[in-house]
Structures are given as structure tokens and as C-alpha cells.
């Protein structure tokens, strides 16, 4: 009985080992996300500068609109 169990267990493990698992190399999504985060951080840091540029050069940009 015990030997039988071991055999089926072994068969199960063996079968599992045979299931083809496809591993694909990621298409650099991690790097892209990182870039977006860094960029976002820079843009947020520049918010005050951007607002100042707009206020001081209203002739270059459209007027304030509600």
C-alpha cells in the first residue's frame, strides 16, 4: 500500500515535470515603468517653475480660462 502511494506520488511529480512551461523573456516593461516614475517625479518637482513660467509669460500662452 505504502509503496503504491509512493509510486503514484512519483508518477505525479514526474508528470508535473513534463508539463511544458513556457517562459518568455519580459519585453522590458520594468524599465519602462521606472522611466515613467522618474519622469513623473521630475515633472511634479517642476510644477512651481512651470506655473511661474505661465504666469510671467501670459502673452505666449493662452489666457486663463475657467
Amino acid at each position: 500500500m505504502r509503496a503504491h502511494l509512493l509510486t503514484s506520488l512519483g508518477a505525479a511529480i514526474f508528470a508535473a515535470g513534463c508539463i511544458p512551461v513556457q517562459i518568455q523573456a519580459p519585453d522590458e516593461p520594468i524599465e519602462i515603468n521606472l522611466n515613467v516614475n522618474i519622469r513623473q517625479e521630475v515633472i511634479v518637482r517642476l510644477e512651481r517653475d512651470a506655473a511661474e513660467l505661465l504666469d510671467q509669460n501670459s502673452d505666449l500662452f493662452g489666457g486663463t480660462t475657467p
Binding site: 519622469r39 518637482r45 517642476l46 513660467l53 505661465l54 505666449l60 500662452f61 493662452g62 480660462t65
Partner: protein
């Protein structure tokens, strides 16, 4: 004699300043008109752009180009002060333009994805993803 000369100089400077201001206002209204009629619009890159299919006169093209050159000068100077790239500074200004917004109802704008949309009374503006909000 010298006094007259100085007075004449002051008058000339005053005249030149008035002329410059008048010119700036004229340019402003021509661009504002073009924006209102959907010929040009704000872009997610921080510059003005031409709406595809719109009939752009040589005069308008020149004004838009001039405006963008002046914007680029502003972005470049501030970017150097903050040690960031010119494109990043331009993008930050674009975020302000899109979020405030400096795009009036009826005006067209170009999204981050490059599509032209029109701001309508009920709709929200498609703010670029890099604006972080």
C-alpha cells in the same frame, strides 16, 4: 541743446516701447483667434501645434513658429537652472496648461498619444499621464 537731445531720445524710446507692445498684442490676438477657430492648439509636449487639415496661412505659421521659439528659450533657460532636460521642463509646462487649464472650451488640443481633441463644455481634458495626478 543737450536737453532737447535727451528729450528726443526719451521720446524715441517711448515710441519704440509702444510699438513693441502693440505688436505683441497684435500677435497675441492673431494666435488667440487661430486657437478659437481650431486651426492651432496646445500640445502635450508644451508647444503649439497645427491641427491637421486646417488651412494655415504663411503669416500664422510664422507666428506659431515664433511663439514656439520663444517658449523653447524659456524652457531651455529654466531647465538649465534646475538641471533637467528641456523636454522635461516643456512637459511640466504642458501639465500646467492641461490641468489649469489654459485651453478654453471649443479649443483643440493634442493629447500625449498624438490625437487632436476638442475641449467641450461637459468633457474633461485628456491630461498627459506623466503629469502625475
Amino acid at each position: 541743446m543737450t536737453r532737447n537731445f535727451v528729450l528726443a531720445g526719451i521720446a524715441a524710446i517711448g515710441l519704440a516701447l509702444t510699438a513693441t507692445t502693440a505688436l505683441a498684442q497684435a500677435q497675441d490676438s492673431a494666435l488667440a483667434q487661430a486657437r478659437a477657430s481650431g486651426l492651432i492648439g496646445e500640445q502635450a509636449d508644451g508647444y503649439l501645434g497645427f491641427v491637421p487639415g486646417a488651412a494655415i496661412s504663411a503669416d500664422l505659421r510664422g507666428r506659431v513658429d515664433q511663439n514656439n521659439i520663444q517658449r523653447r528659450q524659456l524652457y531651455t533657460r529654466r531647465a538649465a537652472e534646475r538641471s533637467v532636460s528641456v523636454n522635461e521642463m516643456a512637459a511640466a509646462v504642458a501639465c500646467e496648461v492641461f490641468e489649469r487649464p489654459r485651453i478654453a472650451v471649443g479649443e483643440k488640443y493634442r493629447t500625449e498619444a498624438g490625437q487632436w481633441r476638442q475641449r467641450t463644455a461637459g468633457s474633461t481634458i485628456d491630461v498627459p499621464s506623466f503629469c502625475g495626478q
